[in-house]
Subunit: 279 residues, 6 copies
Amino acid sequence: MSSMLHNQIVKKLVIQALEEDIGSGDLTTDAIIRSDQKLTAKINSRLSCTVAGIDILKLVFDILDPEMKYEIFVNDGNIVEKGQNIAIISGSAKAILTGERTALNFIQRMSAIATLTNQYQQAIKPYKAKITDTRKTTPNFRIFEKYSVKAGGGSPHRFGLYDAIMIKDNHIQAAGSLTKAYLLAKENISHTTKIEVETENIDQVKEALNVCADIIMLDNMTIDDMKQAVQIINGNAITEASGNVTLSTLNSIASTGVDYISTSAITAQAGIVDIGLDI
Amino acid sequence: MSSMLHNQIVKKLVIQALEEDIGSGDLTTDAIIRSDQKLTAKINSRLSCTVAGIDILKLVFDILDPEMKYEIFVNDGNIVEKGQNIAIISGSAKAILTGERTALNFIQRMSAIATLTNQYQQAIKPYKAKITDTRKTTPNFRIFEKYSVKAGGGSPHRFGLYDAIMIKDNHIQAAGSLTKAYLLAKENISHTTKIEVETENIDQVKEALNVCADIIMLDNMTIDDMKQAVQIINGNAITEASGNVTLSTLNSIASTGVDYISTSAITAQAGIVDIGLDI
Amino acid sequence: MSSMLHNQIVKKLVIQALEEDIGSGDLTTDAIIRSDQKLTAKINSRLSCTVAGIDILKLVFDILDPEMKYEIFVNDGNIVEKGQNIAIISGSAKAILTGERTALNFIQRMSAIATLTNQYQQAIKPYKAKITDTRKTTPNFRIFEKYSVKAGGGSPHRFGLYDAIMIKDNHIQAAGSLTKAYLLAKENISHTTKIEVETENIDQVKEALNVCADIIMLDNMTIDDMKQAVQIINGNAITEASGNVTLSTLNSIASTGVDYISTSAITAQAGIVDIGLDI
Amino acid sequence: MSSMLHNQIVKKLVIQALEEDIGSGDLTTDAIIRSDQKLTAKINSRLSCTVAGIDILKLVFDILDPEMKYEIFVNDGNIVEKGQNIAIISGSAKAILTGERTALNFIQRMSAIATLTNQYQQAIKPYKAKITDTRKTTPNFRIFEKYSVKAGGGSPHRFGLYDAIMIKDNHIQAAGSLTKAYLLAKENISHTTKIEVETENIDQVKEALNVCADIIMLDNMTIDDMKQAVQIINGNAITEASGNVTLSTLNSIASTGVDYISTSAITAQAGIVDIGLDI
Amino acid sequence: MSSMLHNQIVKKLVIQALEEDIGSGDLTTDAIIRSDQKLTAKINSRLSCTVAGIDILKLVFDILDPEMKYEIFVNDGNIVEKGQNIAIISGSAKAILTGERTALNFIQRMSAIATLTNQYQQAIKPYKAKITDTRKTTPNFRIFEKYSVKAGGGSPHRFGLYDAIMIKDNHIQAAGSLTKAYLLAKENISHTTKIEVETENIDQVKEALNVCADIIMLDNMTIDDMKQAVQIINGNAITEASGNVTLSTLNSIASTGVDYISTSAITAQAGIVDIGLDI
Amino acid sequence: MSSMLHNQIVKKLVIQALEEDIGSGDLTTDAIIRSDQKLTAKINSRLSCTVAGIDILKLVFDILDPEMKYEIFVNDGNIVEKGQNIAIISGSAKAILTGERTALNFIQRMSAIATLTNQYQQAIKPYKAKITDTRKTTPNFRIFEKYSVKAGGGSPHRFGLYDAIMIKDNHIQAAGSLTKAYLLAKENISHTTKIEVETENIDQVKEALNVCADIIMLDNMTIDDMKQAVQIINGNAITEASGNVTLSTLNSIASTGVDYISTSAITAQAGIVDIGLDI
């Protein structure tokens, strides 16, 4: 991952994943493979995809065998062709066979997300809009999903509830009005925190603009309403379209001139890419 | 989850998921919602699906507000119609707004897996074959995925590397032959552990049968080979078909008479079901 | 603490603090006090102060005796007089004697920070400037220090390295120029993240203004330079004064018209307030 | 720290402190600094002080970059002059910029405590009395504070509730009398554990002496009473003065002939020393 | 356990023990027992023994079913007859069947240690000597073993390396002499810490006495030498006999007049007592 | 240990054991031994035994001093004579003195179990029966006990409640009959899981055979009943004798022709072997 800090958090999650799979021992490998047996294995993509997760793959095997050797042929974010090798690893046969599934479970999911994000981003190439993610992620796997979105060319949204304000309809309702909710937020937060407001119609857009929201989300609006909203906002806030985002609606949404298009599809519907390990 | 023990493991994972999302605080809710505000919310399915994860949803909110009240209308494994309410919860507005996303992230993924498993299992109703899962699961989310497969009517496979032997091609290669691999395994394991052998052709099936493997996996075989294998095995081992399992191939695979059909699709390609929380 | 989420993180830190003190057992209390002995104790302030940490005090005793009863006379942020009671607690004598030191260690430090913050904020009452904190906090105690600043009437700064961008001289040097550093940051981060730039002179202020930094820190500038900077910025960025902030310089800094004044003194030099527990 | 064991406990606390600051990533450094950039930085003291925490500083950077190189010019416990360099570190620019604040947060607090302890100890040079600390420490930071007291020339008190008996007024009250409390303690503890008794007047001193307490604390006594107590005890117990200990009262307290003077001021009121990191 | 603090540490170890046994689920109970089934079970001792661990037994079941009801007939330290009931528990059948083995694993070992300690202590009734334990305990089970020694009427030794000094032959050798080792220790430790010195002959006893060791261990000495040592020491240090302690040597060792007799046998050779759970 | 995975779980348990002993520091070694002092020590067996735990011994010292050097003379499972050296270690004197007790606590218990298991297995040499263990293990020490049984020539039983089904009398009672319990189990579990049924008489043996249990436990039966059971079962299920297993009954039990003999004695009654560390 890009950050050194990630090493600590990510390392814990990877060890946890290995423990989930291995538990009290890899019965098969322990019984059949000798400790001194060595193997060389290829990590190979059975389909064209945007790769993400190479460092995690290495981390899995490093934990099981600190002497493992790697030849890496691509970087995260690169597109590989069907049948192309991503890496060659060599070292302890036990480590390779015990770690195989966990390593692939990471890279298969991460590359699928990078690939789908890349498709979404490519689909709106003529426009300035950037694809961004949501908090609809798999519990305890968010850091890997967010990273993969970035590897696929997307732009990250806030990481969680703690690094930006997002005022939603329920908050507005509880506070009495959008303006009241905004003022309560403004009063209580750090000057280093941005406020995004979810709007559902042009009136709300105007209200959000009026209080000087940093980001205005246009949620589930028609294409026409979004166009109008973008014109009204006129660069005085960042705009983010949300709702009904699919590969087929993407282009018309981007054509409204919004700055960002957020969608859970790139993380939640990506599935896995068939990447295999061959001896 | 069904087991009391699970409470400890599952509780840790749910708290970890909440920490992942909330970090140093839910800035928005903390700023806008008063501690004494109460809410009632409906958990509603926007699509027909097989529900899984109701206990997890409750666990999320119980952690945030031990006084939360629940009305639950369905059980895990039940099919709900589009628009049907799954539950009504009432309690602290802060708890509901802060926990909403994490709770939905669990139940949306779990229900999607139950739903897809159910479709797979229904598709082979005329046959005895049972759908079973694999170890191709999301890291640190396996216990929820395995549970959802069961809620959807599937039958669980081994949980990890520690609770059954699975001899794969790489083990066979390392040991010299299927028979040698089997004997090494047999010699080293508990008498309480079953041995499954992955076979790729009829010769291997015969070899696996000869050593008395408990389960014989028919991996990526043609329908004809599978049929022949089932006849040769003749009930002397459990049979499990694997490879190229899709909704369209499922029926012909089941028609070969295999006991189990294992597929990662039910967990890896399920995506999420649109279940929402409405105030 | 205000957030429900905090309960999990804060609870872990409070349990950790109890374990630090109690280790393998409170030898004295275990030897001398019977399990069924009860006590009533007053939490009393020996000096006038702004209180912070009442919930933590309760949490300490709740962990040791879930049946403890509390009468609480003030709220966090309230000013108490010398000799005033903050709370009366009654319950297990063992719990009270074992938890006393840990509970006081929290509330004494937290109240000292709230008190000093309050003094700083009061000192600049005629001006719009808000006192804000820094990341110069005690390791593993930051969440309590940041909370206390807020209780004392201060405004929080970013929590850590992860919730806002702060471009410092070292980053500028590494990137080549302030503008280059800003553009690299802008390109890589979420649209939900603000960028603060540290400036040391008027030229840098102009450069930061030119790239549209969200917040411009005026670091170690003379009062005259700060005044000029505020005029140049003219409301197009948030201004934050930093460096040489003491009770005696505070007034003239605030008089420059800056929006925020950040200082580590309110957390690092606060010491402890003498709050005691009397049986 | 001096003990190998400390490595495990201290390492956990240092990693925890890094996680507290870095959370889901150092946004600024990750965006601006390339992974292959190198830096050399000086750790420099802006004021004369007694240094403590050099090993912790190294540990912080070792965790972020195991290849970091160090030149260390002083040892813990040494006094440095204003402007003197403590260390030069070189390695990954990302590691240095990400770890800077956490490393300084440790060494600034630890050196402040060592410096203040040293001042206290120097102030009573003509006397035999040793300065010792208390349990009034920052939660989850005690091991660093106790270590710093020792680095500053002080003598450690018990670490927590588990490694020595301290009978206080509340225990005496609960047991019925000092003698009863002592006997209950004696009966229940290991023969390897010392018993300290807190006394408030000469009568209690006599009672403590009579039961053969290992250590007699003279709590909040007048100088005259302390002198008399020391004479009565006459070397038959260790004496420890406590209460109203400031730099100005220290000399007269020491002149009473007590063996130890305990004070929370050396840890609680030390603040931070201005130690900086310059590129 | 007697201390409230223990609740946190002991609870963690008990949960860890449950996770060790239950892992990803109690397959048998989950498959066969319905969640609403209730059971009543007797905890019965098949042999006469000194009971220890009743609170742990309760803790195990409380974790699995917070509604479990208990009738407890004896206290830790009581002697029960063969066939006597220790407790009756009633509640969830799943909780009882899943927790049975873990609960019994605790109480069987703990009661065996209490029973053996009691036998040792009874064997030297005419003498003042107290039986005490050692650090030769089962890794991660020491707190339960030490507690059981106390329940059996023994007296605890230091808990670990951190709560008392014990100078052994290797330390003496490394320091150059017993006196040098003692002085190094004295200089470096808290005034609240006792120093025990291991001696192997009369000369060492005299040297230890000369430096004023708090406790003098007479290690592997003849009965005659121990007698002589006790006379020489003459109450000026606590005496502790060690080495070759068995039920048959115990009486003559105690007759030498030593204060304590330490032995690993009471923890290491106790085995388990047959305590069963009957439905 | 044989499995790479074990490294993570075992490493955590070994670090936990070191923390249990060292706590806030090894006072004696820290005070007396210099950091640069080196030692060479022999691990020597004072009695003939079957060794187990050499890797754990190394792990203990590796954690305290990563530069420690080892000469290892035997492998786990080897029998050493009285007075034979098992290993020579050299490195930091502090690491050796601080780690000594913890390292020996592991290897002494593990070797005792391997030794007793070996005696049991040797005692039935003429028969095919294999000695196997139970779940009556020391809480949080099971992985070491199970490993030692294997090192001593025994065959492992299931690890916990999660890797095989064991239907006991209580399950049978709750389900209504052995057959009903079996069918409930069969229906709910993975096809990869074996079912063992506990039987107490010939009728139950027939019922278990009739439902095709994988393993039939003959619990507390007479030698004659066991013989009859083995004849009836006739190789159609694995047979396991349980109850009243001692060195004196072992031979006649094995003579009945059972496949496995399970006993808690090999783990619960093994005590410790006197293995020492000599400088």
